[in-house]
Symmetry: C2
Subunit: 325 residues, 2 copies
């Protein structure tokens, strides 16, 4: 079997909903009449977004998950995706694992791989995902208003804890059960697609957290021309590893850095009017996704992080994890 045949073997499956799938110059997709197309494209580079020795099943999962997370943040229903892959060599076990993780997540969201490209070069994974959303219903970054609550889905900070552990920054080392759970959050994020769709008409703004809460939240604040205050304790309680805090002996600033500037969370941060708290909880319940209220939108600009006594913490080194820096 030639290299191209091998790649096709792992990635090509029968077309389901698409009008035309892999194997022609273009894929053809049917879009429900009247729906808008939502598009997200992310590029993952070895040594930057993942370790070279990461489990390829996890990498396949994460490569698609980060795009689905963008669709979720727009409230879009995923339809399909393309995959462009640059590989240093054709490593069959790696390809098999990568395809397995990728396609399992695709199946879980009932979407299909419709095309793409494969080439020889340094390992690079570029996925472009497509979804649909009714006109005017997409969740944007620009609609937050003073007085709105700030919410996050799932857990924050555990991915960063796993990254810091892998980089030898956690001393003493994490107990295996804590490390494994944290690494699961780093390597296998859960795109909050059902929650994003359920928040249409409820959330006033939303985005997905890829670079850290404070840095990402700034995009909402700038586009909505508002400020925010964050309850540090409420944010900290979303971190799964926090339950082991007494045993872990991390400094307070380490916990805060994980949660506030962690990166790689792939959770949704969103705002909603305080009057819609029950609606937010109902949406979260219908999506089987935990949400936590961690602060509120203010007039003005910038972010204030408040401690348990309502005092503003100094913004130290919790700057956004910058994928380019």
């Amino acid at each position: 079997m030639g290299e191209f045949d091998l790649i096709a073997h792992y990635f090509t499956r029968p077309v389901r909903r698409a009008a035309l799938g892999v194997g022609d110059d273009c894929a053809l997709l049917r879009i429900e009449p009247g729906m808008q197309l939502a598009v997200s494209s992310d590029m993952l580079v070895a040594g930057r977004h993942f370790f070279d020795d990461v489990n390829p099943v996890h990498l396949g999962h994460k490569s698609l998950a980060v795009n689905l997370s963008d669709l979720a943040a727009s409230g879009a229903r995923p339809l399909a995706f393309t995959l462009a892959l640059s590989l240093p060599a054709v490593d069959e076990p790696w390809l098999k694992g990568f395809a397995q993780g990728l396609l399992a997540l695709a199946d879980a969201h009932d979407i299909e791989l419709v095309g793409g490209d494969t080439t020889h070069g340094p390992l690079n994974i570029c996925i472009t995902a497509f979804g649909e959303v009714p006109p005017g219903k997409a969740l944007l970054r620009s609609g937050a208003l003073p007085g709105d609550d700030i919410w996050v889905s799932g857990t924050l900070g555990d991915a960063r804890l796993a990254l810091d552990a892998a980089l030898g920054k956690i001393d003493p080392p994490l107990p295996p059960e804590v490390l494994d759970a944290a690494r699961e959050r780093l390597e296998c994020p859960t795109p909050r697609v059902a929650l994003g769709m359920a928040l249409r008409g409820i959330a006033s703004s939303a985005l997905d957290l890829s670079d850290g809460l404070l840095g990402d939240l700034t995009h909402i604040l700038e586009q909505s021309q508002v400020g925010a205050q964050i309850d540090a304790d409420a944010a900290l309680q979303t971190m799964a590893a926090r339950a082991f805090a007494p045993a872990l002996r991390l400094a307070d600033t380490q916990w805060l850095e994980c949660v506030l500037a962690g990166g790689d969370d792939y959770e949704l941060a969103f705002t909603a009017p305080a009057a819609l708290r029950v609606a937010v909880q109902d949406a979260a319940c219908s999506a089987s996704t935990r949400v936590t209220r961690i602060g509120s939108i203010t007039a003005g600009h910038g972010i204030r992080v408040l401690d348990a006594n309502g005092r503003a913490l100094p913004r130290q080194r919790w700057d956004s994890f910058d994928h380019f820096a």
Copy 2:
């Protein structure tokens, strides 16, 4: 200006037709009701698809052109594209040139950059382009029938001549005017978008030539379950540099290899019933694009290349230029 701001500076422009452009989690596109979405994704890697020192204006052009060429081969009208870019460093003159070439071609086709991603890593350019096509009107690879003519657009083989010259394989070296013209074909291919749209309802199959005529044509033959015979002289006459043949002293096999297995042509190859020759010429005229009839589809399978006397040439080393080999 930070690195991200610098990148945004060169690539972000006001939204025109898209519902939402760069700067949110997803771009939002309006699709004409009832139209199908055509999607193509290509990844270009330094040292494989282009030389490191290529003019960035040309590289920007070519990165989008190869995707528009796929849309053209499907008969789709381009709408928009995303750009994912991995850069080893932020080189402002390079970025400026790349954006200039990219956006000039986008403007020429009245399409816009709606989103994407930027990261740090080995130079890698991944563009995903979107177009629309009426249902049932897309040009596919699967419709060729015995007796159909085989046509190609524009010029074949000049891009390969430029590549061979750059690799020192042409002796004596090409005269500057020949080399410059050939390099223009290699670095600045012209996506045949207008021709592809004009061929809807006329061409029985089509694809774009990226890996060489014979190798690419095989995809049509396999998907249509037919064979082909190619008139070598007719194909050779499409090559612009062929006009200088007496002065260049290339071997006959070199000319044939450029035209039949050249790669990087980004021309359309298509089939059409012999009864529609006038319609094909009219379509080409309306698209201001030269087309040349170079052979015909046969029953059976495989390709026979015929010389001026109708004798089959041995298929030597004109194998498809394989981007993965």
